[in-house]
């Protein structure tokens, strides 16, 4: 982190918080946690499925435990397999990362029952927040505005019983959501009551498959809207640090692609309101560790509570860049019972940070995930740039898991400088073998709505779609690069030579051959 500020309290005097910690995750976040362990003097234990036997996180940890076959359900999502690995390794604590088991109350309870420390909130907190409807009721009772809508579930079979439901203050169009989870799954925008009835069965099935619970509810659609979230860090002694907000409105499929801090849409007044609402939300649960309170902000600057996630977020790095704090290290330290330091409690953000997520997805085909092997891998470097990556060159991508490859983060003194730095960073980035969303990201940093900061969650569907068609200039440049590469590659036998026709080598093959020979000469 080229521009991070020092955090004196991180210079530890009393030895590591835990002697050994098991990382119950994979990819870039497992690498991130292993690094935090190393900074804290903790031995790290990676867990890996058969698909990840040679993965970066497996090779990087002090030791690694196999937890099962490639299928996530039998490895990274298997409480039994992860607990067995913890027992074998002698770890004292488990960090779940994000996704997988990170918000699974049964897992947190199993960790505690085994006498180990779960790096995250108590199981009861995960239980109460896991039910989004219960959370809506509790948060609303605490005086925080919630998106107008239902506080009770909809019948998910979509039969006539829907007509008996009083949709109350929900006006159409509306958002159908899963009560048991987020991440865009089970989520549908519905235009009217008929659309709602049509969408219920599919959304219910999707939610059931993703979360094991098909319960759905309905909220008013806030549009246009910006997605803004507040980072919290709490210890076991009642201290709560509010570490500013992140703007997360660049989304596809209701999932984030680019995040920044601070939000260009948040005024000092709104920032204070968001902080106060986040504090009230946190007060509805017994909470310690890192958490995020997500809000929608409408065009009038009104904010509405969406959900609280009591885990590390993918985008925690932008907050780390502007605060200079190590959130992962602090999660581990507060899990061990440490108090948040004065420097954390008094932390003020400096400058502007942006994160661009690099996914193995084709942004020209609705961001569909792609499979294959990453061949070349060139990440950006230099002032103000941080890369959290989960892979290296020549890595096959397992189809079983999330296609996030890396997070390219930049930090600069203000937003225009950060956007310029991100433009440079993406220009230095090159990935071979598979299509990634880099083409979208490179478009984004020149898109006026993003450059000015005046964008909302409609940016990708409204302005990108499947992206612009190739320009004549791009086609010509690609053609030029390709033929020059062929001409310089090792000369192939000409078609006529293969067929035994002597003397038919073409002029350009001779040129290519001469050039290939010439390249071998010194100088």
């Amino acid at each position: 982190m080229a521009t991070s500020r020092s955090d004196p309290s991180s210079l530890r005097k009393d030895g590591p918080p835990f002697p050994r910690l098991l990382v119950a995750n994979r990819g870039e976040i497992a690498v991130r946690i292993i690094r935090a362990c190393r900074d804290l003097g903790i031995e790290s234990v990676a867990t890996y499925s058969d698909a990840d036997a040679d993965a970066l996180h497996t090779r990087m940890a002090d030791r690694a435990e196999r937890i099962g076959p490639a299928s996530a359900a039998e490895s990274y999502l298997s409480i039994d397999a992860v607990m067995a690995a913890a027992a074998r390794s002698g770890a004292a604590a488990i960090h779940p990362g994000y996704g997988f088991l990170s918000e699974n109350a049964d897992f947190a309870r199993a960790v505690e029952d085994a006498g180990l420390v779960f790096v995250g909130p108590p199981p009861e907190t995960l239980e109460s927040l896991g039910d989004k409807l219960a959370a809506r009721r509790a948060v609303s009772a605490a005086g925080v505005p919630i998106v107008p809508g239902l506080l009770v579930p909809l019948p998910s079979d979509g039969d006539g019983s829907l007509s008996q439901i009083d949709l109350g203050e929900v006006a159409f169009p509306a958002m159908l959501k899963a009560a048991a989870g987020g991440g865009g799954r089970g989520m549908r925008q519905v235009a009217d009551r008929a659309g709602l009835e049509a969408a219920l069965p599919g959304a219910g099935r999707e939610a059931l498959a993703a979360f094991g619970d098909g319960t759905l509810y309905l909220e008013r659609l806030i549009s246009p809207a910006r997605h803004v979230e507040v980072q919290l860090l709490g210890d076991r002694h009642g201290n709560l640090a509010i570490l500013g907000e992140r703007e997360c409105s660049v989304q596809r499929r209701h999932q984030k692609l680019v995040e920044e801090s601070p939000s260009p849409a948040v005024s000092p007044g709104l920032r204070a309101e968001l902080a106060e609402s986040a504090r009230l939300v946190a007060g509805t649960v017994a909470f310690h560790s890192a958490a995020t309170v997500e809000f929608l902000v409408d065009v009038d600057g009104a904010h509405y509570f969406l959900e609280m996630n009591t885990r590390l977020q993918v985008e925690h790095g932008v907050t780390e860049l502007v605060t200079g704090l190590d959130l992962v290290a602090w999660q581990i330290r507060v899990a061990a019972g440490e108090h948040l330091s004065e420097s954390v409690m008094a932390s003020t953000p400096l400058g502007h940070a942006i994160e661009a997520r690099v996914y193995a997805e084709d942004p020209h085909r609705r961001f569909a995930p792609v499979s294959g092997t990453v061949t070349a891998w060139r990440m950006p470097d230099g002032p103000g740039i941080r890369v959290d990556a989960g892979i290296t060159a020549n890595t096959p991508l397992p189809v079983e898991y999330d296609p996030l490859l890396a997070k390219v983060m930049v930090h600069a003194e203000d937003r225009p400088a950060a956007v310029a730095r991100l433009r440079r960073a993406l220009g230095e980035t090159a990935i071979g073998g598979v299509q990634t969303d880099l083409s979208f990201l490179r478009w984004l940093v020149d898109e006026p709505a993003f450059v000015t900061g005046a964008y909302d969650t409609g940016l990708i569907p409204d302005e990108w779609g499947d992206g612009p068609t190739l320009t004549d200039e791009e086609r010509s440049l690609a053609g030029e690069a390709a033929w020059q590469a062929r001409a310089r590659s090792a000369p192939e036998p000409s078609a006529s030579a293969r067929q035994g026709e002597p003397g038919a080598e073409s002029a350009w093959q001779q040129v290519a051959r001469r050039e290939a020979v010439g390249r071998r000469r010194p100088g």
């Binding site: 020209h364 061949t375 070349a376 060139r378 060159a393 993406l426 220009g427 230095e428 980035t429 090159a430 990935i431 071979g432 073998g433 598979v434 299509q435 990634t436 969303d437 880099l438 083409s439 979208f440 990201l441 490179r442 190739l470 200039e473 791009e474 086609r475 010509s476 440049l477 690609a478 053609g479 030029e480 690069a481 390709a482 033929w483 020059q484 590469a485 062929r486 001409a487 310089r488 590659s489 192939e492 078609a495 006529s496 073409s506 002029a507 350009w508 040129v511």
Partner: protein, 154 residues
């Protein structure tokens, strides 16, 4: 100047003249294209006729073919499209300089049928599949456009 015919998604492409290619990491395929005042870093992967250039983050498949490869490819794809009689068409504009076969001839797959001169190069049109030449639509000395029917094989 390229002696290759370039196409992207089946459409011909004119190369961008005046851009020099420098390998940054030849093994990885990382290269720099520069026209003297502006430079683009790109990634080039492939071999033979099939290449993929990753430019500005986007993978662009480029077919880089000699005249001969292009004619053979097109003939082959033409034969894949038809089960019965197939029409052999000109894949590039040029002058028919020699017709090797006559109507009624049995030809084997890959046999030379006629020669078309284009851009001062002789290009042999080969039979995409074995069969009997049932009709010849052109005569020697005739100029043909790309896509013009040349002869029919059953």
């Amino acid at each position: 100047m390229s002696n290759y015919k370039l196409s992207i998604d089946g459409s011909p492409v004119e190369p961008a003249a005046g851009w020099a290619l420098t390998w940054l990491d030849a093994e990885a395929g990382l290269a720099r294209l520069s026209n003297g005042s502006h430079a683009e870093v790109c990634l080039i992967e492939g071999s033979g006729t099939d290449w993929v250039v990753t430019l500005r983050g986007r993978r662009i498949p480029v077919a880089v073919r000699t005249w001969r490869e292009r004619v053979l490819d097109d003939a082959e794809s033409a034969s894949r499209r038809h089960d019965g009689p197939i029409e052999v068409r000109a894949t590039l504009p040029g002058l028919v300089v020699a017709i090797v076969v006559q109507e009624g001839d049995q030809v084997s797959s890959g046999a030379t049928l006629l020669t078309i001169e284009a851009m001062k190069m002789q290009n042999e049109v080969r039979a995409p599949q074995a069969g009997r030449v049932v009709a010849i639509a052109v005569v020697a000395g005739q100029a043909v456009a790309a896509g013009a029917p040349l002869l029919r094989i059953e």
